[in-house]
Amino acid sequence: MAEIRIENLCKTFHGASKPVLENISFNVDDSRFVSLLGPSGCGKTTLLRIIAGLEDQSSGKVFIGGRDVDGVHPRDRDMSFVFQNYALYPHFSVRDNISLGLRLRKVPAKEIDSRLNRISTMLGLESLLERKPRALSGGQRQRVALARALIRNPKVFLLDEPLSNLDAKLRDRTRGELKMLFRSVKGTVVYVTHDQVEAMTMSDKIVIINEGRIQQIGSPEEIYDKPANVFVAAFIGTPQINLLTGAQLRELGFRTLQQAEGKDGFICGIRPENVSVSGEPREGWMKGGVVMSEPTGAVTILTVSAAGAELRFSTGLKWPSGKSDIWFNFETERLHFFDPAGERRI
């Protein structure tokens, strides 16, 4: 079937000293939705373009459906690609934009028509078929780009930040629609994004990349609950995870198991929502001062200064504005520990 396998992929651009991708290996199982997530410039789009055949790898292998696709032309890889800027043909009507790929593959006109009807109904494009792309809104263009990808029934869909040009509201809605859409066509999807919310909500599996290297591969829950290193812990989750050294923890007066054993060299991470807070002093809790409170509706984000560190807590409590003193405690079983370099979870 249409699983994708990447083996030891490396890429160095011509004339560049540093590789953009180093030793990348992962699998995408058939009909699964996998996100490549990372900050801009981490190499995730290059990786996607190599899978598509738009870029050559320096070394390593790409298998699509068990076939080594090295040297296979993009049109023969049985995949569709959705570009960030959609890349519609400006001088073609929506109909021609969507159906060009089928016409070039000599699909009979009747078949093209029926597929076009089905896809355009599915994406709500029926009334727009004769328009040119410039007469469409951003959301409509995005759907045309999707229709162009879907109509060929490829084994694999490659999407490069398809939602990043939409406004926030439309993006929220489209996220869910996309997930349902690809589930219904049973497509194998590789989805590039720098938006952790997109990756968390849509994916079966997330591959986190930074500076050309895979940081962690796992389900959204694994990535969130068991970050493999400090980069992953800090990259996923808003507000960002609080990171404290052993010394800072001791200064706060917080005792952990490791410290009880006399070890101090580690970095401790605690997510803002895994903190209990109170406006009254509590036995054994730590004390800090509220620097800023940001109510977002359901939760309030508190920026707290304690023991020379700036911490962020998110709480369901309504925090009275102007109130400074705060007492807080960490949920011990939700602490994350990393080695001092921040490269490994311990």
């Binding site: 032309h73 993009p74 049109r75 690609f81 570009f83 890349a87 043909y89 060009l100 790929g101 593959r105």
Partner: protein, 273 residues
């Protein structure tokens, strides 16, 4: 009030400019319809008092004029078609294809723009002579069917087309030539229309090159033929002006037809989108 005044002054200035520009044309057209005695009068009038088509009758009575007209059409049409084809293909290669030495080659090409055409005229003439292409349409047309300036203009225009569109076309299954033919060329229509007008009018009005390369009278283009009809001792002005009108008409028509794209092409690069 002040605004009104400056507007009036502006329009007056424009009117005078237009009158100065148009006067030679009006004079040409008017002369072509005048009988000889009105042309050689002491007090010439702007419009003929006796309207005659004698100039045109004589022009088209001379059988050779049809031959010259034909030569001109062949020259202008083929130079236009070939230059659009070759220049846009070269521009595509320089704008969108990756090959070693691309930038250096392009810089070299730009440098040749510094060399005046008159300098290369003689060598080109000698080359064509040694190839036996004097007095042939091929010799007339081929040197004009590629121009560095046009390649440069089209390349700049093509560079603005997002790479992703070509990649999308590649994934859709278009061949490299189809990408050029079906995606790139249609998107470059404004600039290509502009350059087509340039090269048509350039070839149509060209005098020096056809004069050099076409030595036999039956191979003269219209401007060369008209110039040779301008006798040393006497000149039939009505005949000559009728010829000039015939030369000007296609240029004006072409411009009007392509005007919509033409303006877009000239404004291209200035305004994005």
């Amino acid at each position: 009030m002040k605004k009104q005044l400056s507007k009036t002054a502006f329009y007056a200035f424009m009117l005078i400019s237009v009158a100065i520009t148009l006067f030679p044309f009006i004079w040409m057209i008017s002369t072509s319809f005048k009988p000889p005695d009105e042309i050689f009068t002491k007090h010439p009038s702007l419009f003929p008092s006796r309207f005659t088509l004698d100039g045109y009758r004589q022009l088209f009575a001379a059988v050779s004029m049809w031959t010259h007209l034909f030569n001109s059409v062949i020259y202008a049409v083929f130079v236009t078609i070939l230059s659009v084809l070759f220049n846009s293909m070269a521009a595509y290669a320089f704008a969108k294809l990756r090959f070693p030495g691309r930038e250096k080659l392009f810089a070299l090409l730009l440098v040749t723009m510094m060399v005046p055409g008159q300098v290369t005229m003689l060598p080109v003439f000698l080359i064509l002579k040694s190839m036996g292409l004097l007095n042939t349409y091929a010799g007339l047309i081929i040197p004009g069917s590629a121009a560095v300036f046009a390649i440069f203009m089209i390349r700049q225009f093509m560079a603005e087309i997002p790479e992703e569109i070509l990649e999308a076309a590649r994934i859709d299954g278009l061949s490299e030539f189809s990408i050029f033919w079906r995606i790139i060329l249609p998107l470059c229509r404004p600039i290509i229309a502009t350059l087509a007008v340039f090269s048509f009018i350039g070839a149509w009005n060209d005098f020096l090159w056809p004069l050099i390369i076409m030595l036999r009278e039956d191979k003269y283009t219209l401007p060369v033929a008209l110039a040779s009809a301008n006798g040393q001792y006497n000149t039939d002005w009505a005949f000559l002006m009728a010829g000039a009108v015939v030369v000007v008409i296609p240029a004006v028509l072409i411009f009007l037809l392509a005007q919509k794209h033409y303006i877009k092409g000239i404004a291209a690069g200035a305004v994005k989108g």
